[in-house]
């Protein structure tokens, strides 16, 4: 689904953000991208949806070499990838419906069809009742759920998230992580950049570790045995949340 082959990225001034990174993510994977600030996590994610281009190496998304896609065709690549950011990037002057309906509108859907789709997607993230609200009327967690709804509205095969809980308090963060697990459970490949180890322990999955642009770790952590079924995820994550909170308090 996503494959990096010896990918390096140098920015102007010679700063190397990524060095010879290679890995492959399969369809339906739930993967974490870990590393300290400046390790290259955001750069790697931006390369996937081609906000930036690699200095060398190849990136394959659904078998297509992202670098070789003509500039005019990049929007079509991005329509297949949902992206979520730490700062939500919601437009304050637009309603929640308008915020998540950009892509359906771009695709030429009529207003009724867009409303139906927006309602269904917002229901998926538990915010169907806030369709006509404005972002500033929502809590941080709700805003992030809207951002996730925007990423999901076209049912992308890949969902990538760059520190999606970075601006949220622990309670809301776990709420968002639960949502990602649910989304992944329905077949969407999820790649999530975070520096929070507790999520990795709780959810499990592929863990790619970056250090100063190099891929220094690539391992699979099994989800805890108690978390085998989707139905039990909520409760188990809640207990992990409690554990983490108490751990944080003790430290």
């Amino acid at each position: 689904m996503i494959q990096f082959l010896g990918v390096s990225k140098k920015f102007a001034g010679g700063t190397a953000a990524l060095r010879e990174v290679s890995f492959k993510l399969e369809k339906g994977d739930f993967s974490f991208l870990r590393g300290a600030s400046g390790a290259g996590k955001s750069t790697l994610l931006k390369l996937i949806y081609r906000e930036i281009e690699p200095t060398s190496g190849q990136i394959l998304v659904n078998g297509r070499n992202v670098s070789s896609i003509p500039r005019k065709k990049v929007p079509y690549l991005r329509r297949t990838i949902g992206v979520v950011f730490q700062d939500f990037r919601l437009i304050s002057r637009r309603t929640i419906f308008e915020n998540i309906s950009y892509l359906p509108q771009i695709l030429g859907m009529g207003i009724q069809e867009r409303k139906r789709l927006a309602y269904q997607t917002l229901r998926r993230v538990g915010l169907a009742h806030r369709m006509n609200s404005f972002p500033q009327q929502l809590s941080g967690g709700e805003q992030q759920r809207v951002a996730i709804a925007r990423a999901l509205i076209n049912q992308p095969e890949i969902l990538i998230a760059d520190e999606p809980t970075g601006n949220l308090d622990p309670d809301l963060s776990w709420e968002i992580m639960r949502l990602f697990v649910e989304i992944n459970g329905k077949g969407t490949t999820v790649l999530l950049a975070t520096h929070e180890p507790s999520y990795v322990r709780a959810i499990g999955g592929r863990v790619l570790s970056l250090d100063r642009g190099r891929l220094v770790g690539d391992k699979k952590i099994e989800r805890q045995s108690r978390l085998l079924t989707d139905d039990s995820i909520d409760g188990e994550l809640s207990s992990m949340e409690t554990d983490t909170s108490s751990g944080e308090q003790s430290s």
Partner: protein, 300 residues
């Protein structure tokens, strides 16, 4: 996405954007309106003046003034010389006394001037009506020179001389209008470009999101092009409304101002109105293109 729907989206977004930043949009519209108004004023004046000159050209005559001592034979010779030209349609002989009475009728307030003169103060003349002669047509100048050189002729007054001067004045007026209008239009284009760049800057967060979810550049830039088009069109419409108001104020039907009787007899023809609207709209579009080809919409 159907063309109708996408144009509807562009138009809707452009109108919302104009409404949201109405102050700077108004500035852009007024700038373009000013340039079109000034250009249109020159066009209106020169057009009416041209029409007046053309009317005068139709009535233009060549007047051949004759010596008072000229004999009938000499007068007949001059008449024959005048009438032999193909372009002369009529030759009217005006005696000195007829000329005096015309003078008294035309200038009654100064008719006393003639009393202090001799019996026949104004010379007899031949008034030649003629068809419009293309400039530089062979024979006309030679024919005119031969009339001037005839010993029975004092002088030849050719109306075309001052009509030529008026033509030159009109050409200068049009040139001036074109230069001033173009300079102001350039300023208007720059203003529109700046306004659209500013709008794009204000919308940069939304543009970034649109890029992220897969909007094409046409989809992102379309509303800005339409915004430029609308600003240009509105600027042109405002200018034409202003010009029409001035025309109504000075028009001889509603005003007794002398200027109105000559220079604003008729409003601009519909072709000129459409052309002005088109130029204004294109200027708006050009402003949008200028602003959008730079990095104002570059991804962040």
């Amino acid at each position: 996405m159907s063309l109708f729907r996408i144009f509807g989206y562009f138009m809707g977004e452009a109108v919302v954007s104009l409404w949201r930043s109405w102050k700077v949009s108004l500035l852009a519209i007024l700038t373009i309106a000013m340039s079109i108004f000034i250009g249109g004023t020159f066009l209106l004046l020169s057009g009416n003046l041209s029409r007046v000159v053309e009317n005068w050209r139709q009535e233009a005559k060549i007047i051949v003034y004759l010596h008072s001592q000229s004999t009938p034979t000499e007068i007949e010779r001059v008449r024959s010389l005048a009438a032999e030209a193909d372009w002369v349609t009529a030759v009217e002989e005006v005696s000195g006394s007829q000329a005096s009475s015309r003078f008294r009728e035309t200038f009654p307030s100064v008719q006393d001037l003639l009393k202090s003169w001799e019996d026949e103060p104004l010379p007899a003349s031949l008034e030649l009506s003629f068809l419009p002669v293309p400039e530089g047509q062979g024979g006309f100048d030679t024919w005119l020179a031969s009339l001037r050189q005839d010993p029975a002729v004092i002088m030849v007054d050719d109306d075309r001389d001052w009509l030529h001067q008026l033509d030159a004045f009109i050409a200068i007026l049009r040139g001036l209008g074109a230069v001033v209008g173009a300079a102001l239009l350039g300023a208007a284009v720059v203003t529109i470009a700046s306004v659209i760049r500013l709008t794009a800057y204000l919308y940069r967060d939304e543009i970034a999101v649109m890029r992220l979810v897969g909007a094409t550049e046409l989809y992102i830039r379309g509303p800005f092009f339409f915004e430029g088009l609308i600003q240009g069109f509105l600027g042109g419409a405002v200018a034409l409304l202003g010009l029409f108001s001035v025309f109504l104020g000075l028009n001889p039907k509603s005003s007794t101002v002398l200027l109105g009787t000559v220079l604003v007899d008729r409003f601009l023809p519909w072709q000129a109105i459409l052309a002005m609207l088109g130029v204004a709209t294109l200027a708006g579009c050009l402003g949008a293109i200028l602003s959008l080809r730079r990095e104002s919409l570059a991804s962040d």
